[in-house]
Amino acid sequence: MNIETQDFYTQAILSMSALVGLMSFLMLGQGRLPRLIFVFAMQGMLLTLTAILAANELHSPHLYISAFLTFTLKVVFIPSMLQKQVFAMNIHRDVEALKNNTTVMLSGASLMIFSYYVLQPIIHTSSMIMLNALVVSLSVVLLGLLLMISHRQAVAHVVGFMSIENGLFFAAMVATDGMPMVVELGVAFDVLVAAVLFGIFFFHIRTSIDSLDVDMMNKLHEVER
């Protein structure tokens, strides 16, 4: 089974998955918040396109609805909300210089290899070449975690969290052609509420410690001194 022997739909899905993975890597290297949010919106756009492709190919209307939900949430609502907050709190010029950029990037690549290793049993026994895209979605999840670890700004944490959800949505679409509608709506609702709560939280954190650097929130310890 080579990619050249697959039909156009499979090739398109695999290319989309590669691009989604690329977006995750691009997010890892961003120092400025507006650009980070823009790349995240791009990733959401790619996901919407993938959903539309899948809906077209499989003739399932509920994937159109998922695509629409993803678009409104992940491309329009969340990035614009984050951008507004970033500009309102005047941190759009802060550059978070990552000290160990190369290390972070290379650990990202090793996370991709690791997720391939983890999902080997599934891919091996399956006949669908499309399942290989599941590896990319797991690595998007892990890269979102890496993004959260390597950045100190709370806004970057939220973008990482949302990109984890992006990876999960991609996994659901690739492996299972979308979850049942009820579950999708529930997940979308949860993401929406989470985004709104994050917005409220930025305001509280900012009022309490006057910056959004989460390293400064360190009053509580495991073992109290």
Partner: protein, 486 residues
């Protein structure tokens, strides 16, 4: 089935009512009434199940069997008694100036929101909806943890949000993998329904289910508070208002464990290896020991008891992981009594903190002299949770030890060590608080300790003699979960 719909609709109505209407003087009492009606509905549901056995709704969306029926009643019961406690407690907090009335509205509407999420987790048959409800429970309580708006509480709420959110995302990945494995069996519409999956468990691909269980254990395990994913738990339970701590410790942890065990039932049916069990045993044992050790170094009374929650949840996870009839029965019993005793403890702790004006244990002294009921409540509660006979916790811990001695005798000394260390840690801190010298000017407060007495009384009753309907349910659930009966 009407009972389930009624229950859920009542909670939704509660949320809407508290959110939309203005602030009442009696908002606490309204909350109590709503919780009381919910309790009534759940008791009605329980009697229906008692008469007719397992109920499955026509759309197969809801499933009430012997595993979750008593958990539903327990949830409603603890919710009701905590609301009894929270009404005067929160009024006192407003008097102290720690809260505004607008935030109190938020508190009560999110209280009902949290109860709704709990009911949904317990009654749903759909694994996806279970996930959605778990995430909903997190979201409902996040704002409550930071209710006091101090820097520590905001930090605790942020940690809670991020850690639980990320953990739950892993659980969603596990659910997706489960759906993928199940979709191949036939009807994709039914692929997430637990009842269908349980019947056809042997046909599911074991490799996929193993990987999915790892993700599900990590994900829901974050919400249970398994070490090393437990970092949010002491912070969230100690910085939030006390009724919130009582409900989180008593109910949310139970529901997360319930979700893990439901998934374990599927995995056990599919794979022939015991990997799910070993994983749960490993995590549970580590949580048990680490939490027992951490108990000693705490300086805040609520953190002390939240580490005790971690320890007990670790023990329950260990027992469920071990499998077998005895351990499963013990774990089910432990879930019930731990819930009751822990929420009672948090209620007394809340009163103690209000009496002393602080949560630091070094500054709380002489409770038994100031307000004997609070002092005795705290002492008996600690005695109960540490595992003294004749309370229910002793019975369940004894059964777990018995089962461990039969199957993994080399682990028994570790368990005994952990129980001993936890016991020492708890009493070392509680003793001066209850019996020490009463500081100047410490006055008793208006407190409703009936919930505490009822909870401890129930725990005592369950330790001495489990009523027959409950033990029937436990036996049926044991059969369902472990495949063998007592």
């Amino acid at each position: 089935m009407i009972a389930v719909y009624l229950l859920l609709c009542l909670s939704v109505a509660g949320i809407a009512f508290f959110a939309l209407t203005g602030h009442h003087k009696d908002i606490g009492k309204l909350n109590t009434y709503i919780s009381a009606v919910s309790l009534g509905i759940t008791i009605w549901l329980a009697t229906t199940v008692f008469q007719y056995g397992t109920i499955l709704s026509e759309s197969k969306a809801f499933l009430i069997d012997s595993f979750n029926v008593y958990l539903i009643v327990l949830t409603a019961f603890v919710g009701f008694t905590t609301s009894l406690f929270s009404a005067p407690y929160m009024a006192h907090e407003i008097e102290l100036g720690k809260l505004t009335e607008a935030r109190l509205k938020l508190y009560y509407s999110m209280y009902q929101g949290f109860m709704l999420a709990m009911y949904l987790v317990l009654t749903t048959n759909n694994m996806g909806i279970m996930w959605v409800a778990m995430e909903g429970a997190t979201l409902a309580t996040v704002l409550l943890v930071s209710l006091y708006r101090t820097p520590e509480s905001i930090e605790a709420a942020w940690k809670y949000f991020i850690l639980c959110g990320v953990g739950i995302a892993q659980a969603l990945f596990g659910t997706i993998l489960l759906y993928y494995a199940a979709e191949k069996l036939g009807n994709p519409e039914n692929a997430l329904l637990w009842s269908v999956l349980h019947e056809e468990a042997t046909q599911l691909n074991p490799d996929i289910l193993e990987i999915s269980f790892v993700f599900l254990l990590i994900g829901y395990g974050t919400k249970i508070g398994l070490v090393p994913l437990h970092n949010w738990l002491p912070d969230a339970h100690s910085e939030g208002p006390t009724p919130m701590s009582a409900v989180l410790s008593g109910l949310l942890l139970n529901d997360a464990l319930y979700a893990v065990v439901r998934n374990k039932m599927l995995v056990d049916g599919a794979t022939q290896s015991h990997i799910a069990g070993y994983l749960m045993m490993g995590f549970g044992l580590v949580s048990f020991l680490v939490a027992a050790l951490f108990l000693h170094r705490q300086k805040d009374i609520k953190r002390l008891f939240s580490y005790s929650s971690i320890e007990h949840m670790g023990l329950m996870t260990f027992a469920f992981g071990m499998g077998g009839a005895l351990a499963t029965f013990a774990a089910l019993l432990h879930m019930t009594v731990h819930s009751l005793v822990k929420s009672a403890i948090f209620v007394t702790v809340g009163h103690a903190a209000q009496i002393a004006g602080t949560q630091k244990m070094a500054q709380i002294r002489g409770l038994i002299k100031t307000q004997p009921k609070v002092g005795w409540g705290l002492l008996i509660g600690t005695v109960a949770i540490a595992g003294f006979p004749p309370f229910g916790v002793f019975t369940s811990e004894f059964l777990v030890l018995l089962a461990t001695m039969r199957e993994y005798p080399w682990l028994t000394p570790l368990l005994l060590l952990g129980i001993g260390i936890a016991f020492a840690g708890l009493f070392r801190h509680i003793q001066p608080m209850v019996y020490g010298e009463k500081p100047e000017g410490q006055l008793p407060i208006k407190a409703n300790l009936i919930p505490v007495m009822v909870h401890l009384g129930l725990a005592l009753w369950l330790g001495l003699a489990i009523p027959s309907f409950l033990s029937d349910w436990f036996s049926q659930a044991t059969l369902l979960i472990s495949g063998s009966s007592l």
